[in-house]
Each structure stands twice: as structure tokens, then as C-alpha cells.
Amino acid sequence: MKDLLAISDLSGEEITLILDTAEAMREIGERPIKKVPTLRGKTVVNLFYEASTRTRTSFEIAEKRLSADTLNIAVSTASVVKGETLADTAMNIEAMAPDMIVLRHPSSGACHLLARLCRSRIINAGDGMHEHPTQALLDAFTIRERKGRIEGLKITIVGDLLHSRVLRSNIGLLTKLGANVCACGPRTLIPTGLDRPGVTFSTSVDEAVAGADVIMMLRIQQERMRGAFLPSLREYFNTFGMTAARVARARPDVIIMHPGPMNRGVEIASDVADGPYSVILEQVANGVAVRMAVLYLLAGGAEGSEN
């Protein structure tokens, strides 16, 4: 595997290998010296065309814990504002011979373009409304840790399904590992083309959360909405927001997840976000271990087996 562009490129065995490796990586974060020399001398460029706190910090910590040299490029300060295209920026970075590029970009498929142009290994840190593979991997890691398995679980995903790359990656990953996914949102925000065995769509939260092992909330992405998808945020919260009363319909050992950033009072009530079922901060902690696993496995992996 040269790059990590999308969950759809990965087999079930590869996903399991990443999760198992992340298990070992997590221990490094518990040591007094949180650093191993594995990627010494490797250069990783974090190229972020969209705002990000969690993902960028998480990648950077993961890179530093593996002793890679890291470089952050945020577009607001880069020559992109002077009119340079993604391809030109990439070729210029490539000329300085980094080993890996972590890319976040508002256009779907930007990572695939880069992977074709560059010898460096590309890691997709979110491309438009397409995929966010490391988020799905850390979600799966968190579920597996809490539930001991993924196969056979009922996983309910509620929110802005249409604009969510997290949903696309998660549906791909969770169905590959045998979970039953129920995706729930307003009719205007249900995407087409995601029908596959193991996935059902619903417009009723109360139905969707009934008997769920995992509830995953998605943010309402107003910045991506071009049109009148919702009457109002208050109405959205009343119809789809995750409240304690709705959580009570799920299994008693349900866990609540959210990829962040959260909009309290829009998709999730504060008492649920901070409540005993919430594993939202565990997801963030696990993100570092999962990204370390991905960086390690890509750094020396076989050429050309995937892409």
C-alpha cells in the first residue's frame, strides 16, 4: 500500500492490522518518554487547506512520537493565496523530497490527484465530502475497545449525512467488519449511492436509536450547505438532536460518539456530550495511536499493492 486515500481501498485484514498496530502504539503514549525512534530521518508535510484543530494536532503528535520531522503548511499563510494550484503546490513540495504528505482539502478527490502526481506517500486527512479514513479507523478502534468487537453491533449514525465524509468512511469500514449501520437524518440531508448490505436509512431518530449499541453524531456542516436544507437549527435539535430521553431508547451500555467539533444544542445536548455514555474524548486520545499506526505501516510498506 503506497497511500491511505479511502477506506474503500482497504481490505478487512488491512483494517484489522491497522487497529492491532494502534493497540501497540497506544502504550507509547503512556510512557514517561513518549517517543520511539522509528521514523527518524523521515519528513512528513501536513498540508491543510481547511481549518482543523483535532486532526492536524493529532497527526502532528503522532508524527513527533515516531520521531519524524514534521512541517505544517496552513493555506492562509501559503502561496495558495497568491493563486497557486494544488498540483503546483504539491510538485513544489515534492521537489523537496518529503516522505509523506498528510492532506486535508475541501475538494473530494484532491488526495487521489496528489497520489498520482507525487512519489511521496499521501495520507488523506479529509477530502471534501468524500472520505476521512483515519477518523473512521479511530472510531472503529474506540468501538472495538469498548465493545470488544464490531461484528453484529447496531451502530446508529445521526446528523448531516449528505455533507459528511466521516459517514462515508465509517459506512465503508463498519460494513466491512460486519456491523449493521443505521444512518438517520432529515430527508433533505440523506445522500444517494450509499445503499449496500448492512446499511439502512431512517428519518426517525426514535426508531434509529432503538436498541443501538453505538450512537455516532455528525455535525451540521453549515459551511458546506448551499441551499435550504433545514428550516432552523432549533427545529433540527427538536427533531434530531441527541437528548437524554432519546439515548434512553438505546441499549443500556450504549456509547455516544462525535467526530468533533461539536455544536452543543444543535446535534447534541450538553448533558449527553458530557454524560457517562460519552466516549468523545477517548476518540480524540485514540486518534493519536491510530495515526501512529497508519504512519508506521505506510512508511515502509510494499509498493504498488493498492494504488
Binding site: A24, E27, P32, V36, L66, Y296, G300, A302, E303
Partner: protein, 173 residues
């Protein structure tokens, strides 16, 4: 080397460890994954039979410290397994345990890994088999058996806990 011989060898090493280290409370055993771990546990058991004291035992995975990790352009990365050292190694006399001592590169990596966990008082090396051909200036403190080999041969240690039987064999390749 068969099961009987292996058992007596480990008992002998346990006695040697106690002879050379006064104060069993200061000791800590760390086995190198994979086969150093069950050997370390057996040594802990042997020491407990003699002294009635359980020496704390941990497992060390050295994959992330290997010096040959990024040298192969092709081929999947070695699998990383977990390191579990459930005690503080600070000011302890650590007994580092592995099955076969060969080039010494594994031990070099293990020393680097171990130092990341603290500052032990000393580190001593225990190996079941020393097959020679060192590439680094490393020497074992306790050796089960010196086994002269050629570079073409490989030494396989099988252990009950992992392979279902205890034996050491030399394979021609």
C-alpha cells in the same frame, strides 16, 4: 536441547542470577518478544521456587527500535506488538531475557527501548542459546548453551507456551 535439558538449564541460570545479585527485591525480568517472554516467566517461577519471592516480569517489543526498519523498499512492515512492563525499572537490576543471541542487534534495540522507560541500576543479559556471529560489542551475562553455528544455519527455539513443545534445533538452510 530437549525439554528436560531446557528445564535444568533455566534452573541453573536462576541459581546463577541469585548468586551474582544479592537482594532479590531489586531484580526485574524483561523478556524480549516473542520467545524471550515465556523464558522470562519461567525464570521468575524458578527464582520463586528457590526464594519464595516473585520477581516482577515484563514484556518488551523492540520492533519500533530496529535498525533495519526502513531499509527495505518493498515488503510489509513487521507487526508491532505491545510492550508491557508493569513495574518501574528505575533503580532496579534488570535482567533482559531473549531466546537466541546472534548479531546483537536485537539487544541493541532492546537496550534503547528499555532506557526509554527509566534508569535501571544495571541491565544484565540472559539468553538460552548463544550462537555466535556478533556484529556489535554485546555479550551475555548468563548463557544457557553456547552453540557454534555457521552463518548458513538457523537456530530455532520452540517453547511449550508458543509452539507446544520445548526444544532447540539447528536447521540447515
Amino acid at each position: 536441547m530437549d525439554a528436560d535439558r531446557m528445564g535444568r538449564t533455566l534452573t541453573r541460570i536462576a541459581h546463577e542470577i541469585l548468586e551474582r545479585n544479592r537482594g532479590v527485591e531489586e531484580l526485574g525480568l524483561v523478556g524480549i518478544r516473542t520467545r524471550g517472554v515465556p523464558i522470562a516467566r519461567r525464570l521468575a517461577r524458578a527464582i520463586a521456587e528457590i526464594t519464595k519471592y516473585e520477581v516482577p516480569t515484563g514484556a518488551l517489543d523492540i520492533t519500533l527500535y530496529r535498525d533495519d526498519l526502513m531499509r527495505h523498499a518493498v515488503g510489509p512492515q513487521p507487526v508491532v506488538r505491545s510492550t508491557e512492563i508493569p513495574f518501574s525499572i528505575d533503580d532496579k537490576k534488570i535482567l533482559l531475557v531473549d531466546d537466541v543471541l546472534y548479531t546483537g542487534r536485537t539487544i541493541r534495540a532492546a537496550l534503547d527501548a528499555l532506557i526509554d522507560f527509566g534508569r535501571p541500576k544495571s541491565i544484565q543479559l540472559v539468553v538460552l542459546v548463544d550462537r555466535g556471529h556478533r556484529e556489535l560489542p554485546i555479550k551475555a551475562d548468563y548463557v544457557g548453551k553456547n552453540l557454534p553455528t555457521s552463518l548458513a544455519q538457523s537456530v530455532q527455539v520452540h517453547l511449550q507456551e508458543i509452539d507446544g513443545l520445548d526444544e532447540v534445533e539447528i536447521q540447515e538452510s
